[in-house]
Symmetry: C2
Subunit: 217 residues, 2 copies
């Protein structure tokens, strides 16, 4: 049976730390395309993804559950009602591959976690969701390891940079332009983003009127 994969998502005004390079409409579209990349990877890995949205939202044929409570409250309510396996995947992981998801859900431990950069938690697989509770924000990776330990659950740390790489800030777009293979990377390129090397470091630049500067008479 397919493992359900819940992907929390905030449709309105997401990814505010990208405001320096993307306006609100662009951020909303970009966030949806990253979500799509995650949904596709989860589905190809044999999961059954559904979206936990903070407000009314539709997303093709993917099931959406609406819950306007905070992330921890909404997820812990869901966990308590799920006596089987569950994968929790963040929506801003556009480098996620089916292989990386398969490594997570094929753990032989009770819990498998992929940490995010900076102490966060990007993905958690639970063999029995109702035995666990989440505590996101801050150094959540440590908290989740501790919660597993306290509950007597064995825990594997899955070593994946693809799921480890969340896209929050301008410099994270470098990773997406280098390693991305999905819709969100294509959207960045359509918006005029490309890699820029300055003083030996790799960054991104955005040419706002690409078509003009390239071909005007």
């Amino acid at each position: 049976m397919a493992v359900p994969a819940v992907i929390p998502f905030k449709p309105r005004n997401p990814k505010t730390r990208l405001s320096c390079v993307l306006d609100q409409d662009e951020r909303e579209k970009f966030a949806q395309l990253m979500l799509c990349d995650v949904v596709v990877a989860a589905r190809e890995a044999g999961c059954e993804p559904f979206i936990l949205a903070t407000e009314a939202f539709s997303f093709g044929d993917t099931r959406v559950v609406e819950d306007d409570r905070g992330l921890n409250e909404a997820l812990n309510d869901l966990l308590a009602r799920t006596p089987g396996p569950l994968l929790i995947l963040m929506a801003d992981l556009p480098l996620t591959t089916p292989d990386a998801v398969r490594r997570l859900i094929s753990t032989t431990d009770d819990v498998a976690i992929v940490p995010g950069r900076g102490g966060g938690t990007n993905a958690i697989y639970l063999a029995r969701a109702d035995r666990f509770r989440v505590s996101y924000y801050g150094a959540s990776f440590r908290k989740h390891r501790e919660i597993a330990r306290e509950a007597g659950l064995s825990c594997e740390i899955v070593d994946s940079f693809r799921i480890h790489t969340d896209v929050d800030e301008k410099e994270d777009l470098v990773e997406l332009l280098i390693h991305g293979e999905g819709l969100s990377r294509g959207y960045l390129e359509d918006l005029g983003f490309s890699l820029a090397i300055e003083k030996g470091r790799v960054g991104v630049e955005r040419k706002r009127d690409k078509e003009w500067s390239a071909g005007s008479p």
Copy 2:
């Protein structure tokens, strides 16, 4: 037979981007302890590590080859003389585990690469080193993929955040304090470094006179 693993290393005044939190003596010691963590992981994975140093340097019972040329020249000279397998591992990867190294050297492709954050290349395994040449600096990951393609070599991208995480800047110390298990992490703690959470983000702080502020009457 053990796969030789070359680890390039600069003993004097390394890691200058950490100057804001570590003085030169501390950076030299820290760099050596990260190197030690990498050597230990490579050895436990069944490799035979040796150090390619930019100047005279000794490091316990680990073999040191001295070469004062640039990284690319020194490595390409070595590659040309190596008709067998070779692993190239950077020295600033203190989260490297034996498992991650094993995944690299057990590839069925001609080349296996772990990209670094920001477009770099943190590890390259070559089934036949003399068929490849390296081109570090800038967006080297893309260059290495292209070099493999041009040489007709198949290439696997190995998905490991442990080898993906190089330690160059203050914010990278967060990763080491969270995920490190070796000597370099212990040294950071001895120097007074700890995680600090500010506005929901995880950073590091250094208490320079830890023992005083903790226990003075």
